[in-house]
Amino acid sequence: MPRWLSRARKNGSLLALPTVLWLVIFFVTPLVIVLAFSFMSRGRGGVAIMPFTLNHYERTFDIFFIILQRSIGLAALTTVICLIAGYPLAFFISTRRRRLVQQITLFLVILPFWTNFLIRTYAWRILLGEEGTINSALLNLGLISEPLPLLNTQLAVLIGLVYGFLPFMVLPIFASVERFNFRYVDAAHDLGANDIRTFLRIVLPLTMPGVLAGCALVFIPSVGAFVTPDLLGGTKGLMIGNLINNQFGGSGNMPLGSALSVVMMAVVMLSLLVYVFANRRDRGA
């Protein structure tokens, strides 16, 4: 047995082999292919062919830039709204005295996952439609005289994203607040801090890991969202995910789609870097 193998057997690193193989085959290889494609030319039917070119990146930052901006903007707004709505909810759940109430409320947060995401998003189409539930109710109540244009707007996409990703904000914050020792709050009050100061100086910093994890879990899938803008956004709510999807079907442009994907990945990596650094600084403090 070679020395490296016996050493690997002893320290248990062989246990990681299946995972490493999995990642190399299904993550690293596709990543390299996407990266290579993004620098290649478009052939008949949208496939990638030689020679190499930078055209697709040029187009990404030229024509596609406004959609990239819109996607990042919508994802950021989704994250902020989820945080504002999710933090109090997570706090509420984790501070219930009775275990049963806590379990039931937590269960309710997870309940929507029982239904397929696509079906839930379709349901929003019926709610937001011109003759949909919301418009009919408002019309019948006499609050509006004409149906509001809700569907096929950026607002519809925002509603769909917040709805879809709110649980991803609530759950990590819940886990953080659960571990929070409330005697710190008493101590802060004893030392003369008011509620706001206590929250900002004690509660928020100590639950920050949950907040950051929640933000990452909401922002990353939001920025690449495809189903939600496809079903709710129409022409006004188009996001980068839709345009990437278009490049891979029919006679699209796989190299361009790859370049768009690489830029998307860079955006996600940047937001993850923010997460890592914020977390580290947090722990250091």
């Binding site: 949208g46 439609g129 011109e130 949909g132 022409t235 006004k236 442009n253």
Partner: protein, 361 residues
């Protein structure tokens, strides 16, 4: 047995009716010499009448193998790998062109297909196979506008009504069709490969698309049904579907007078077909007035067969539905989409991306 006896009086009653029709039409007869041979057909699923194949087997004394596919790509992939033994395939327009270029089809011998004279002349010589060297139309349909009859009590006759409508409109996510419609207004060839013309078509659509709320992939009819749009540019079959489902007159389908896209599925013979002669006999059989009419009566697509239409074999209900059979004067204005090649494809793809991006600004 009892059931058959009960049916007998009914059959006897019907007999004079069918006799009356048969008097004008000689039933199709098989040329001699094919007894005992085999024909293999590769067709789309649910795209033939129940008795089409058995009647052919009986008339010619042959055995038919019948296989189905779900998409042009699936069929193309099988034939590209080497024809596994099919004598007949049914590719759509662009796919005919592609297969011809890749030498995957063999030329038809029109001398063996006298019934070619039955076909609607406007559907022959389409851009994807200008001489009908490799293909003859099997069934066809159109892209047009589905609209709410409440919003448009007088109907829609022009694309300008679509562009100028003060209300939500859904376009079809079919780049070549949409740009092709713009080309009609700009007096360009709908299948042009000229970069300036493609960009001009893009700009034309951008200018006319202010009322477009969504560019729908395959569900414009659903948006129309739900009242989210007043007009949906769609395939005729999809609009027909919601009219049937609701059993009402709330929706109608029209092909604007300027023209629109026509899709045609075609009978072709793939390369290395084991029995191309029998395949041509089968094509002739399909193009018979009665056989073609029976086919259309069963699957409810438009027949390309002028003789079927004129003979009265096609059900009135189907024939008089403008969503299935456009009036003849409109057929002349329809354009077929062709495979434009890699370069134009990229230009069209770019123009379409830009259109999608700027429509929502």
């Amino acid at each position: 047995m009892k059931k058959i006896l009960l049916l007998l009086p009914v059959l006897l009653l019907l007999a004079p009716l069918s006799l009356a029709q048969d008097m004008e039409h000689e039933p199709w007869t098989c040329p001699e010499g094919y007894e005992g041979q085999t024909l293999s057909i590769f067709n789309w699923s649910t795209y033939i009448a129940e008795d089409t194949v058995p009647n052919f087997e009986e008339a010619c004394g042959v055995t038919v193998n019948y296989d189905i596919y779900e998409s042009n790509e699936a069929m193309l992939a099988r034939i590209r790998q080497g024809n596994p033994g099919y004598d007949i395939v049914v590719p759509s327009g662009g796919t005919v062109q592609r297969m011809a270029e890749e030498m995957l089809l063999i030329p038809l011998d029109m001398a063996m297909i006298p019934n070619v004279a039955n076909l609607i002349p406007d559907l022959l010589g389409a851009a994807y196979d200008p001489e009908n060297t490799y293909s003859l139309p099997y069934q066809w349909g159109t892209v047009g506008v589905g609209y709410s009859t409440e919003v448009f009590p007088d109907g829609i006759t022009s694309w300008n009504q679509v562009w100028e409508h003060d209300g939500p409109v859904a376009w079809l996510d079919d780049r070549q069709t949409m740009l092709g419609i713009a080309h009609l207004f700009l007096d360009n060839d709908p299948n042009t490969t000229d970069p300036d013309e493609i960009n001009a078509a893009r700009d034309y659509l951008l200018e006319k698309g202010g009322n477009v709320v969504t560019v729908a992939a395959d569900d414009g009819q659903v948006l129309l049904e739900r009242g989210d749009v007043d007009i949906a540019i769609e395939y005729n079959g999809d609009i027909l579907q919601i009219s049937w489902d609701c059993e009402c007159d709330d929706y109608a389908y029209a092909i604007p007078e300027e023209g629109s896209n026509v899709w045609i599925d075609n009978l072709s013979i793939p390369v290395d077909a084991p029995n191309p002669e029998l395949a041509m006999v089968f094509i002739d059989y399909i193009l018979d007035a009665k056989v073609g009419a029976d086919l259309t009566n069963y699957i409810w697509y438009a027949s390309p067969n002028q003789a079927s239409i004129e003979s009265g074999f096609i059900d009135e209900e189907i024939l008089n539905d403008p969503a299935i059979f456009p009036p003849p004067e409109q057929v002349a204005n329809l354009f077929a989409i062709i495979d434009v090649g890699a370069e134009a494809e990229e230009l069209i793809n770019n123009a379409w991306d830009e259109l999608l991006i700027f429509l929502g600004q």
